[in-house]
């Protein structure tokens, strides 16, 4: 999270992460959130506010109340 703190103005904001409130430092990007959660960039796919965000486009700062979803591979039929 150190990178996040360096990019921020010091405040925090709340996003919805997989359906639960999650506080991040203001200015945190989606890529930084993925890293802070312990995921390699290629290990998850991401969506913000119902729209797919490709791996190469996770550099935008998250906004208050953004709905963030992370998806991982799983068995399936």
């Amino acid at each position: 999270m150190s990178d996040v703190a360096e990019n921020s103005g010091g405040g925090t904001l709340c996003v919805q992460l997989d359906g639960k409130p999650h506080e991040v430092v203001a200015g945190t990007t989606l890529a930084q959130l993925v890293a802070a959660l312990g995921h390699e960039p290629q290990a998850v796919s991401t969506a913000v506010n119902g729209a797919f965000v490709p791996r190469g486009q996770r550099g935008q700062a998250l906004q208050p109340d953004d709905v963030v979803l992370l998806f991982q591979p799983v068995v399936g039929g």
Partner: protein, 277 residues
């Protein structure tokens, strides 16, 4: 695809999906197995070259206990491909977004498109399905839609550019087999150039054999193997049934008749009872 009666060269009877040759006509699902090792052994026993996988929200479930590593290892060993699905989607928009995530995660443009319209039967929503298929084909996906056996919906999905159609045999996981063989036969008859796969509802290997005998190009099943007390042996049984059904279709099944037709040639047999010395 109108191959009935064709001569197979060297026993190879592959089918082609957009230029990719698949020797196995058995697509296997990967969910619900008792352990990763049983899944790996079932994949090997099935001989499949295409297995379905899914996506899940990160916090919605616990870890996968190594299932995905096992799948990837088995795929590498057999030179097989992954077919991600959009299970759980109820709208075209959701399905399109999930499809893009699946393509990024699994590095494949092949997609089993699922858009459910009824939570009780898990019946596909034909309108949302066609809408999603149109968009995904435009986005460069090779779309395998899970659909009902409705002829007109299937035609619309082909018009949208779907590579393969996957009508249900019966509701997902029900194991009821082919509950509407008339509709499935009609689809095969009316769409002779389409790649058709019976997906869902298959319970016994005989169901799979029947689908292939009808001229379906492949079958997709999961629960029939994973819910067997011996999934590995069942995967092998399905492999044999698929081969038998396909072989029967290519050879040509005899026409049914209403009355008996003598099999043994008896004309001129000197020992036939009733003849007097």
């Amino acid at each position: 695809m109108g191959e009935q009666g064709k001569v197979l060269t060297g026993g190879i009877d592959a089918w082609q999906v957009e230029g990719v040759s698949l020797a196995s006509r058995f697509i296997l699902g990967t969910a619900g197995y008792p352990s990763p090792q049983v899944l790996a052994d079932a994949i090997r026993a099935s001989g499949t070259q295409l297995v379905t996988v899914g996506l899940r929200r990160q916090l919605a479930a616990a870890g996968d206990n190594g299932f995905m590593d096992i799948i990837r290892a088995a795929m590498a060993e057999q030179g097989a491909r992954l077919l991600p699905n959009t299970a759980g989607c109820t709208t075209a928009r959701e399905a399109v977004q999930l499809a893009h995530m699946a393509r990024e995660l699994y590095d494949t443009s092949w997609l089993k498109l699922e858009v459910v319209g009824d939570e009780y039967t898990l019946q596909p929503d034909p309108l949302e399905l066609v809408t999603a298929a149109r968009q995904l084909v435009r986005d460069g996906f090779t779309v395998f839609p899970y659909c009902t056996d409705d002829l007109v919906t299937c035609q619309r999905l082909l018009d949208a550019g779907c590579a393969v159609l996957m009508p249900w045999g019966a509701p997902i996981g029900s194991g009821q087999g082919l509950i509407n063989p008339f509709a499935l036969r009609l689809l095969r008859q009316r769409l002779p150039d389409a790649l058709l796969v019976v997906d869902a509802g298959i319970g016994a290997p005989s169901d799979a054999a029947r689908a292939l005998e009808m001229g379906y190009d492949a079958v997709l099943l999961n629960s029939a193997v994973s819910q067997s007390p011996d999934p590995v042996r069942m995967a092998g049984a399905f492999k044999a049934a698929v081969a038998a059904g396909r072989g029967a279709y290519v050879a040509g099944v005899m026409a049914k008749q209403d009355f008996a037709v003598a099999t043994t040639p008896v004309t001129g047999n000197p020992l036939l009872l009733g003849e007097t010395p």
